[in-house]
Amino acid sequence: MVKKELIAMLLAGGQGSRLGVLTEKVAKPAVAFGGKYRIIDFPLSNCINSGIDTVGVLTQYQPLRLNTHIGIGIPWDLDRNVGGVTVLPPYEKTGNTSWYTGTANAIYQNLAYMENYNPDYVLILSGDHIYKMDYEVMLDYHKAHNADVSIAVMPVPQQEASRFGIVVTDGSGKITEFQEKPENPKSNLASMGIYIFNWKSLKEALKALAEQPNCDFGKHVIPYCFDKGEKLVAYEFNGYWKDVGTLGSYWQANMELIDIIPEFNLYEEFWKIYTKNEIIPPQYIASTARINRSLIGDGTEVYGTVENSIIGSGVVIKEGAVVRDSIIMQGTVIGRNSVVERSIIAEDAAVGENDQIGIGEERPNKEKPNIYAYGLAVIGENTIIPDGVRIGKNTAVTGETVPEDYPYGALESGETLDKAGVVS
């Protein structure tokens, strides 16, 4: 009989709507990060580096890119005879078929998958955090404390604690209280959304909460286990951990990689981060190029100037172009003499010549001021930008745009231009 001590369930079905046009056509875990990675590479690499060889990836929102990326798991050594990586989309069943309505509901609908491996413990992960963590150490902690459920927590500054789900522990690590975004936090330990369950406890809780609408781990399963009197412990994690849920934090986390000795170091020999290398050749830096403080991916050609930026694979930055404080993803072309500042340009976009992007005065976005902020100009994937236009700050552009879309040759700060799906 197949037996796996610990299996992982990776929640990768969310849209991540706060990333705006970046997640218009891809799920958040498939968004590019750090030049050649995608966000999901971090939890997947953590799994294999922690010795977990059975991972179920729950997908729902726009899974195509994610499916192509994961494939049969070769880059992460997760192509296995028994176990390996399995993509788990919602499926039709007799009786009530439904989408995944919540994080715990998604896991509930895949009880049969987990049952196959006869696990002792199940690790629940989300596919949208940047960190390196040894889950095996967490499992050892879980076992040593004889816990039913372990929750990974990290200390946050006390004044920011009211933005998080806070756990309060006694001296031994046992959890005594939960506070969801509390006004007066009693502790500064924030939940990271990483859980280890005893398989029996998880199965029992999911079945008991089967009828719960939008069943969620933080809101329903954990309180259920707590109320039932099971032993919940907090596992304190003190390494680098970043939620890249907003454009601001996404941009910030990317920029931190450029530091000379970054807090999150991709160049360490142990704990490698694996990804699917679609583009293999080296990058070419021309005589006309100037590069400073940047990360550049494989197969990229630089003829212009790049400063303080993260450039993906297969990008072309043409002569005279200037890219500053920006993130340019795989396959994008920046035309001659265009200036790109403080922008995020998604995959396979084409920026014309003599464009100015991310330049203008600071003004909040009119449609979605909470999403398109931080002074960033955000360009969606496959977007085409005509020659000689100016795009301001806190803007979003997506689709095949033409000069007529830019009154007086400009998209002013705070405007949104969404032509995705428009066939010209």
Binding site: G34, G35, K36, I74, P75, I258, I260, L266, Y267, K272, I273, Y274, T275, N277, I280, P281, P282, Q283, Y284, I285, A286, S287, A289, R290, I291, N292, R293, S294, L295, I296, G297, D298, G299, V306, I310, I311, S313
Partner: protein
């Protein structure tokens, strides 16, 4: 599945000087991200050939490490696959491979068990992209016994280290000389042959019985008038890297836009084993001009007209000109390099300088490396 591939990758050449001390020629790093054999294997895979044997001998471990999995070239198939054949002892044979024909001869049982009608023989030290199906068509069209891929070389290339051919109007090879004293033609053999499998078995068995071991001398040249041996002229990029000068030049060729585009951007792609390395990092103070930089490298100094392979560290105030730094090289601060090839994983001490004055200097320094 009309053909199987045989890649001859067992050789060594004194022309590679110290570079072949630790690896087979077929395992020489090329163009930042690749190894020499990738070009032959990718051409085979892209021509829908699913079964290939790599015959290794000299320093075979270096090659085995690169060929640790067949999946990178898409050879991980049930029908077919990638086979690596070093010499082996059997009751009938206890010799090393005594030549290219002998290498095939010692693996005849494998060839006999194949069912594909044709064999493509290529060497592991050629840099090219070829559609072998086209050559196969040509071979069938000409009703040839053996087709040899040939190429006219430009005047500046010294062709006397190659096999030289002369062809008649029909492209039948009428003269073939291996590494002649004086060049009698500008057309060289690229070391790529197409031959019917049964024909090959017959020729190799005969040569084996007669104690003849070299494919070129004992089959191509010996049978030149008896068998119909045709030349197939290729005109796309081809280079043989089996001398330090041509190895250096071939790498530098990738700085030319048309050659870079041809290999890096035009379909079909060249595949290689992927190392999981982070993107290249450019720190303040770096100045890079007309160079190829590979992933995992960290640049703090000046790089000009050079090829930087994977995982290279270039310290502050360094200057690297017209040089090739192989995988994992570490340059301490304030190093000056010009016209050099630095052997992989070597550490160059700070405040030193190496200049290749008469041609390319091969730098080998295996000092201690102090890193934080």
């Amino acid at each position: 599945m009309r053909a199987v591939g045989i890649v001859l990758a067992g050789g060594n050449s004194y022309r590679m000087r110290e570079l072949s001390n630790k690896r087979a020629i077929a395992a020489m790093p090329i163009a930042g991200s690749y190894r020499s054999i990738d070009f032959a294997l990718s051409s085979l895979a892209n021509s829908h050939i699913q079964k290939a044997a790599v015959l290794t001998q000299y320093n075979s471990r270096s090659l085995n490490e690169h060929l640790s999995s067949s999946k990178w070239w898409d050879f991980g198939r049930k029908q077919g696959g990638l086979f690596i054949f070093p010499p082996m002892q059997t009751p009938e044979n206890s010799f090393w491979y005594r030549g290219t024909a002998d290498a095939i001869c010692q693996n005849l049982s494998w060839l006999k068990d194949c069912h594909e009608p044709y064999v493509i023989i290529c060497s592991g030290d050629g840099i090219y992209k070829l559609d072998f199906n086209k050559i196969l068509e040509y071979h069938i069209d000409k009703k040839a016994d053996i087709t040899v891929v040939v190429r006219d070389m430009p005047d500046e290339v010294d062709v006397t280290r190659f096999g030289l051919v002369k062809m008649d109007e029909d492209n039948r090879i009428v003269q073939f000389e291996e590494k002649p004293m004086a060049a009698m033609s500008r057309t060289v053999s690229c070391g790529i042959y197409v031959v019917r499998r049964r024909q090959l078995i017959e020729l190799i068995e005969k040569a084996g019985e007669e104690g003849r071991f070299d494919f070129v001398r004992d089959i191509l040249i010996r049978y030149r008038d008896v068998k119909k041996i045709y030349g197939y002229k290729m005109d796309s990029y081809w280079s043989n890297i089996a001398s330090v000068e041509s190895y250096y030049q071939t790498n530098m060729d990738f700085l030319k836009p048309e050659i870079r585009n041809y290999f890096f951007r035009e379909y079909p792609n060249v595949y290689t084993k992927v190392d999981d390395l982070p993107p290249a990092k450019y720190n303040p103070g770096c100045e890079v001009k007309n160079s190829l930089i590979s992933s995992g490298s960290i640049i703090n100094g000046k790089v000009e007209d050079s090829i930087i392979f994977k995982n290279v560290f270039i310290g502050e105030k360094c200057t690297v000109k017209n040089s090739i730094l192989l995988n994992g090289v570490y340059l301490g601060d304030n190093v000056y390099l010009e016209n050099c090839i630095v052997e992989s994983d070597n550490t160059i001490r700070p405040n030193t300088s190496h200049v290749g004055k008469n041609g390319v200097e091969i730098v080998i320094e295996t000092g201690d490396r102090y890193t934080l």
